[in-house]
Assembly symmetry: C2
Homo-oligomer: 224 residues x 2
């Protein structure tokens, strides 16, 4: 249970209340990998780091606990959750469903502007060299975000946010493998084609398949 490197934590966004700002900062830190599963934090530590009192920190912790990003560590602070193999399986099973649903809904609702945006992202994604992992992750995220927006469903949005939190806890991306990147390009193309054709059933199927492939890749990474 090592301690996080608080120096690297992002500073607080000035918008909104401090409590919400702390919440977002910690969530961002987990997503950025600065806070990793197993790390422990005390309320006072975080409060000092951000030059605040414990009160807004507690508020942030309450929300993070509610989203299962943190858990009580008995006497010794709060712990960044780590996912067991069962949970990873469940996470990907759910993500298959949700990304499938997002693609399906996007096929219904996406307009020409969104088709073009997706097309552009897809072209940039496929043109990337295999070693530029950071950019690949970035564009991949924007591609999926665009689909999510086109789906126009705030509940789906919320559920996908939960998925993103879970994936963040897992750490390393599956896109680090060049072979996986190449496959992802093909899978994205299938999703995009179905969305442009307005074929919800095909889009849903392609979306599910895409996550399923990522899951298979993730599973092999486990055993190594």
């Amino acid at each position: 249970m090592d301690k996080p490197d608080f120096e690297k934590l992002p500073s607080l966004p000035p918008e909104g209340s401090r409590g919400q700002a702390v919440f977002e900062a910690l969530r961002a830190a987990i997503h950025a990998g600065h806070l990793r599963p197993g790390m422990t934090m005390r309320e006072e530590q975080v409060a000092e780091r951000f030059s605040l009192s414990r009160t807004p920190v507690r508020e942030a912790f309450a929300r993070l606990l509610g989203q299962s990003l943190l858990e009580h560590g008995g006497g010794r602070g709060l712990i960044v959750r780590s996912l067991g193999t069962t949970e990873v399986y469940e996470l990907y099973a759910m993500r298959e469903v949700l990304e499938g649903a997002a693609a399906g809904l996007a096929a219904h609702h996406a307009g020409p502007a969104e088709h073009a945006a997706l097309q552009s992202l897809q072209e940039r994604f496929s043109a990337l060299s295999a070693d530029d992992i950071e950019e690949a992750v970035h564009i991949n995220r924007r591609f999926h975000d665009e689909i999510r927006q086109a789906a126009r469903n705030r509940y789906l949005d919320g559920a996908l946010d939960q998925m993103a939190d879970g994936i963040a806890l897992l750490g390393e991306t599956t896109l680090s493998d060049p072979e996986r990147h190449a496959k992802a390009v093909t899978e994205h193309q299938a999703i995009l084609d179905a969305i442009k054709a307005g074929d919800a059933t095909a889009a849903e199927s392609a979306g599910r398949q895409h996550i399923h492939e990522a899951f298979l890749k993730r599973k092999t990474a486990f055993r190594s």
Copy 2:
């Protein structure tokens, strides 16, 4: 923006911290219909009602805000969220997906004991007289809960909880109509048959269809 009848609020469960207790009490009050959309609450009001300070109440509010059950009412307290027609559409679209997924996963994972439990609930549900709405709602909920448990996916669980919160905000059940009850019996039977047969595809389809029918019923109720 009337004020809630705080007298009818359930008392605090003794387990856990007071903050969590308040959270659950308020959530239960919304589900029970004692707190209805548009009602406003101030921190101090709730604190007095439960003989607490504002601190644990704030913690509860933070979580309720995180789950979009409450929203800031500007200067005048917090407001129980009310759903616009767009959100209702989105809610049911998402619920179709999730209940479908639950049925599909249940078809994979459910064992004989769960088949029997579902069968029993289905028989009790179909035997109900048309005017016993309260019991119908109760058994209906247990039926869906049983499927959810059989699905064995905690992320799906969380997402369905969100759906339940949203439905609670809508108020009246669609089961109040005798005709709807009869249809629901048939639809439940289709889900049950598919689960018992281990046919995930059919189960998912039946689950979606069931929610879709409820949605159609809900839409007609709007216009009245």
